[in-house]
């Protein structure tokens, strides 16, 4: 056999190098877990706005941790300090690690200066979820919106982030848009930095 004896044997588990390992988890396992998360939160609330808020809070905790981890792992302990930098970090790096692909699009809002949109044709968390008619415009993407808010907030870009369904012409299913509305101080700082 080739390579026999060449692999260094580590007697202590702590001395073994940290491998990146297999980075993917089963989609089914995730879908069931997420489904339970939604169902549990549904039993704790009495209106849809509250449910949305709870999902967002759950995502916020993920976002805060993900930012820490990926600034360390991907960017050598450096963090984006500019608005467009952090947005593309979310759109590319974070999305790729969490969902295995770059987000479909990142756009600037046309009506307001402080709004940005990340759009997904089919958001991973919504892959198996059909919203009942009586729940109106509720979107489980609130969880992802929470993740984005967690990342931005902890990077020093406080923002209000919401998830919306946007109908697409010629498509049966609407796409999901994550709307990011930055706080005033963020834009003021950006303007100062030039």
């Amino acid at each position: 056999m080739i390579g026999v004896g060449k692999i260094k044997q580590y007697s202590n588990v702590l001395e073994r190098p940290l491998s990146k390992g297999k980075q993917e988890v089963s989609l089914s396992a995730f879908a069931f877990l997420f489904s339970e998360l939604v169902q549990y939160n549904q039993t704790q609330v009495d209106n849809i706005a509250e449910l949305e808020r709870r999902l967002e809070d759950a995502g916020y905790a993920v976002g805060a941790r993900v930012l820490e981890l990926f600034c360390h792992r991907e960017k050598g302990n450096r963090r984006e300090t500019r608005l467009l930098g952090i947005l593309s970090f979310v759109h590319s790096t974070i999305w790729k690690v969490l969902f295995g692909k770059v987000a479909d699009s990142l756009e600037k809002g046309t009506e307001h200066e402080d709004e940005y949109m990340i759009s997904e044709k089919e958001l991973l968390v919504n892959r198996f979820i059909s919203i009942p008619k009586d729940m109106g415009a509720f979107n489980c993407g609130a969880f992802v919106a929470g993740i984005v808010r967690g990342v931005l907030d902890n990077a020093g870009f406080p923002a209000v982030v919401t998830a919306h369904f946007v109908p697409v012409e010629g498509q049966q299913r609407p796409r999901t848009t994550i709307l990011i509305k930055f706080a005033e101080e963020v834009l003021a700082r950006e303007a100062r930095l030039g």
């Binding site: 089914s28 997420f34 489904s35 549904q42 198996f128 979820i129 059909s130 919203i131 729940m135």
Partner: protein, 141 residues
């Protein structure tokens, strides 16, 4: 001509949780479809008892003069069955595929309550596509 007449899904206690009608032949009202579903549930259970073979899992195919009925029972006792034109092929694989769609778009949906009627948009969309594909395959024969 439509080869598949209708599709039923019944839960483990014999309640109809999904019914879809394709093609004009043998159209039924809601009460009749409920009756057929619970009748089939009981017959299926009786057939298991009557079978001379030990460990029989029930009727899989019922052939009549005017229709074939293919049945698939999942491990949890949910039954899927299609009523189709006599001699229609590949119904077992279609049923397995529908079971797959059920596990994906119904069971992973947090807004679906177990054993209750299925009202999931994504399941409907994917099911329509699957049946459509089946039809195209049949036309291509």
């Amino acid at each position: 001509m439509a080869a598949i007449y209708s599709l039923y899904i019944i839960n483990k206690s014999g309640g109809l949780i999904f019914y879809k009608d394709y093609g004009s032949a043998g159209r039924m009202d809601t009460n009749d479809s409920l009756r057929v579903a619970s009748l089939w549930h009981s017959m299926h259970a009786i057939s298991q008892q009557l079978s001379p073979i030990a460990g029989c899992s029930g009727v899989e195919l019922l052939e009549a003069d005017t229709f074939d009925l293919h049945c698939f029972q999942s491990l949890t006792g949910t039954k899927f069955f299609v009523v189709c034109e006599p001699g229609t092929q590949h119904m077992e694989s279609l049923l397995k595929y529908i079971y797959e769609l059920y596990t994906d778009f119904v069971l992973k949906n947090p807004f679906y309550e177990m054993e209750m009627p299925i009202r999931c948009e994504l399941f409907d969309i994917n099911l329509a596509q699957a049946v459509q594909k089946e039809r195209v395959a049949l036309l291509g024969r």
